[in-house]
Amino acid sequence: MAFDLAWNTIVSPVVLFFVLGLVAALARSDMSIPEDFAKGIAIYLMMAIGLKGGFEMSRSGLDAEVAAVMIAGIALSLVIPLIAFALLRFTTDLGRIDAAAAAAHYGSISIVTFIASTQALEWAEVESSGHLVAVAALMEAPAIVVALLLAGPRDSARVGVAGQSRGELVREVALNASVVVLIGALLVGWATGERGQAQVERFFLTPLQGVLCLFLLDMGLAAGRGLRRGREALRPATLAFGLYMPLVGAALGGGLASLLGLGVGDAALLMTLAASASYIAVPAAMRLALPEARPSIYLTLSLGVTFPFNLTLGIPAYVVVAGWIAG
């Protein structure tokens, strides 16, 4: 059963198109999907998953569990960077600032990994709750704050960079596209419920998996190129971190899920969130807040190593394990 489930997840158009992109990039194909088109699709995906969660919440209502999972999510995004930072400092030769920046990525989340996970649950006919989307949105930012504390006192933080404007980091972190769209779409879905769903499901829900194929082809290309170009920047110990850190995160997420007594689907999603690493919001925030940290380290790790790992092997594993601990 577990094997079947894992196999069906991996041999699905969604994952195979990701692998296609990955392989094409590693084979040095020049093909690409225009950036502006891919960014438009990304907005669509966030609207879709937000609406989906909102419609589901309008059916199921709120209870104490919702608050508990949200707190669990925030706790994970505060603790994981600490663990990641410690591991990086002890096992690799990364300096304090590079380690702090990389740690922030792992405390935050990848919404595409989350969406892929919800699809895998659908294929396995496992239910999950809409409010996990809210948890995902809440987990975007806290790790950034932790990382800034870990990075410690720096020149640029003390005197400031020329041209800096008040509140720009807060705006970047709290009002970036994924937070605004996820939370916004969740509220729209929640407020309009069944009537809203009838109006928009044929654009946002029915074709979702197909759109994800197109988007993951692009992400495969990006991950493959990131890996090919960034490879030399990573020592083996750093590269290994990109592979075991998601497992550490997933274990923490799974532990909390079992403590809270979450269902299989919710447990798998919380594990996925904990295991996933940001490659959009956090890198951007790091350029503002920790410009000394090297993108070649943190982007290669999160986009080139952890993202492909989660998408191909991680997700099926988390779903299977969630079945054991919560089933």
Partner: protein, 101 residues
């Protein structure tokens, strides 16, 4: 025609707003921002399509102004380019309506 200075700043996209703030504060009359598609430096090779976070992307700011105003902007821009990834260059140009710069 009249002689002015043309400032060209290649700056990482995330620091673009900071650079624009500096230009505004220094009293430059205006600037125009161009997008870029790829680049290479000492530490990186990047292509717009390969970076979902846009955090490696660069932008090019062109600002034409009189020598004094450009001079005033340079100190702060220098500090910006020390903290952020960027390349700053200035050259002489001839313009037609000197009063507007």
């Amino acid at each position: 025609m009249s002689r002015k200075r043309r400032l060209e700043l290649i700056i990482e996209r995330m620091a673009l707003r900071r650079a624009c703030n500096i230009l505004e504060e220094s009293g430059m009359g205006g600037y125009t921002v161009l997008g870029t598609v790829a680049g290479r430096g000492r530490n990186s090779t990047w292509r717009r399509e390969d970076d979902p976070s846009s955090s490696r992307e660069m932008a090019v700011i062109i600002a034409i102004g009189d020598a004094a105003k450009v001079e005033r902007a340079l100190a702060d821009l220098h500090q910006l380019v020390d903290a952020h990834i960027g390349v700053l260059s200035v050259c002489d140009v001839d313009v037609l309506r000197p009063d507007r710069f």
